[in-house]
């Protein structure tokens, strides 16, 4: 019994460490069918795509785009083909602006890495 508990402790600590260190994108954008993008936050919070997305510059922040629509979409400097998931890694703080084809109200999208 004691042995099982010890093994269980090791597994639990390793799982927590894996969960804490597993690389996550700083921004998770999903485009469902119909082409209006949403930002998925932690704890299952979903937000309409804003015109400006602020990204914390710690490390090398990544932007993940999951495009479930039937056409290619461009979101600022980034893009994803139909059915594709792409991750972009931003190297440095700055402002990244470009055309947006998946925005509900705006034709441009800006990422501010700070």
């Amino acid at each position: 019994m004691k042995r099982v508990l010890q093994v269980g402790t090791v597994v639990a600590i390793t799982a927590v460490a894996a969960l804490a260190t597993w690389p996550r994108p700083a921004v998770d954008i999903r485009i469902p069918e119909g082409g209006v993008a949403e930002v998925h936050r932690r704890f299952w919070r979903v937000q309409m795509l804003p015109e400006t997305i602020f990204v914390a510059a710690g490390g090398r922040p990544r932007v993940r785009i999951t495009n479930s629509d039937s056409m290619q979409h461009r979101l600022g400097l980034f893009a994803a083909d139909a059915g594709e998931t792409v991750e972009y890694t931003l190297p440095q703080p700055g402002t990244y602006t470009g055309e947006c084809s998946a925005h509900p109200t705006s034709s441009t999208l800006t990422f501010v890495v700070r």
């Binding site: 010890q6 402790t9 090791v10 600590i13 390793t14 460490a17 894996a18 260190t21 597993w22 690389p23 090398r60 290619q72 461009r74 400097l77 980034f78 893009a79 994803a80 083909d81 792409v86 991750e87 972009y88 890694t89 931003l90 190297p91 440095q92 700055g94 990244y96 470009g98 055309e99 084809s101």
Partner: protein
């Protein structure tokens, strides 16, 4: 035994941390995963010859989409390219620098070529028919559209402002946002030219 368990747990966590930090060196530009394979496109040049963008081993390619009437983004970007090429020295000659017009209505092949050459003799300006231009824009996932001007032929084009770096196998490796300086470009090019 408890000490051993704690140490084993700590070791496991450290291994995970180390694994997450591993991988190939980071690009200085904006990288993407998965990388995008770029198909080859052909353009007819002003002397009637065909220029193909098909990859050449050991020769990375820089690509930018713009137009010759551009008042701001295009001249600044090509100016940065020129600076990057000078910084690279002789290695800069191994890079293909391609300026592709997104305004083929006004930019003939000769105009695109002479415009690109203003910034460096080795820069290649390309213009093509609307279908080819649209296809290469789709491959790089960049858009453009005409903004109404004072007359039919006096208009501005809204267009993507980033530069793209394609390696010698035709894979898009990184891109650089407008006016982000030449250091990242030069560093990534040196990595590809090694």
């Amino acid at each position: 035994m408890r000490v051993l368990t704690t140490r084993a747990s700590a070791l496991g966590a450290l291994v995970l941390l180390a694994l997450s930090a591993c991988g190939e060196p980071a690009w200085k530009g904006i990288s993407m995963d998965p990388s995008r394979e770029i198909p080859a496109f052909s353009f007819v040049q002003s002397d009637g010859t065909t220029y193909s963008t098909s990859p050449e081993a050991g020769r990375p390619t820089f690509v930018f989409f713009g137009y010759t009437h551009c008042p701001d983004v295009c001249p600044i970007t090509l100016g940065e390219w020129s600076k990057a090429k000078r910084t690279l020295g002789e290695d800069g000659e191994r890079v293909r620098w391609l300026f592709v017009t997104i305004d083929p209505e006004r930019d003939s092949a000769v105009l695109a070529e002479s415009y690109a050459r203003q910034f460096d003799e080795s820069f290649i300006g390309l213009s093509g028919d609307a279908e080819t231009v649209a296809a290469i824009q789709k491959a790089f996932a960049v858009g453009s559209y005409q903004e109404p001007g004072a007359s039919d032929d006096d208009y501005l084009m809204a267009h993507a402002s980033q530069s793209f770096l394609v390696d010698g196998t035709g894979v898009l490796r990184t891109m650089y946002s407008f006016n982000s300086g030449v250091d990242a470009m030069v560093s990534d090019l040196q990595r590809l030219l090694r």
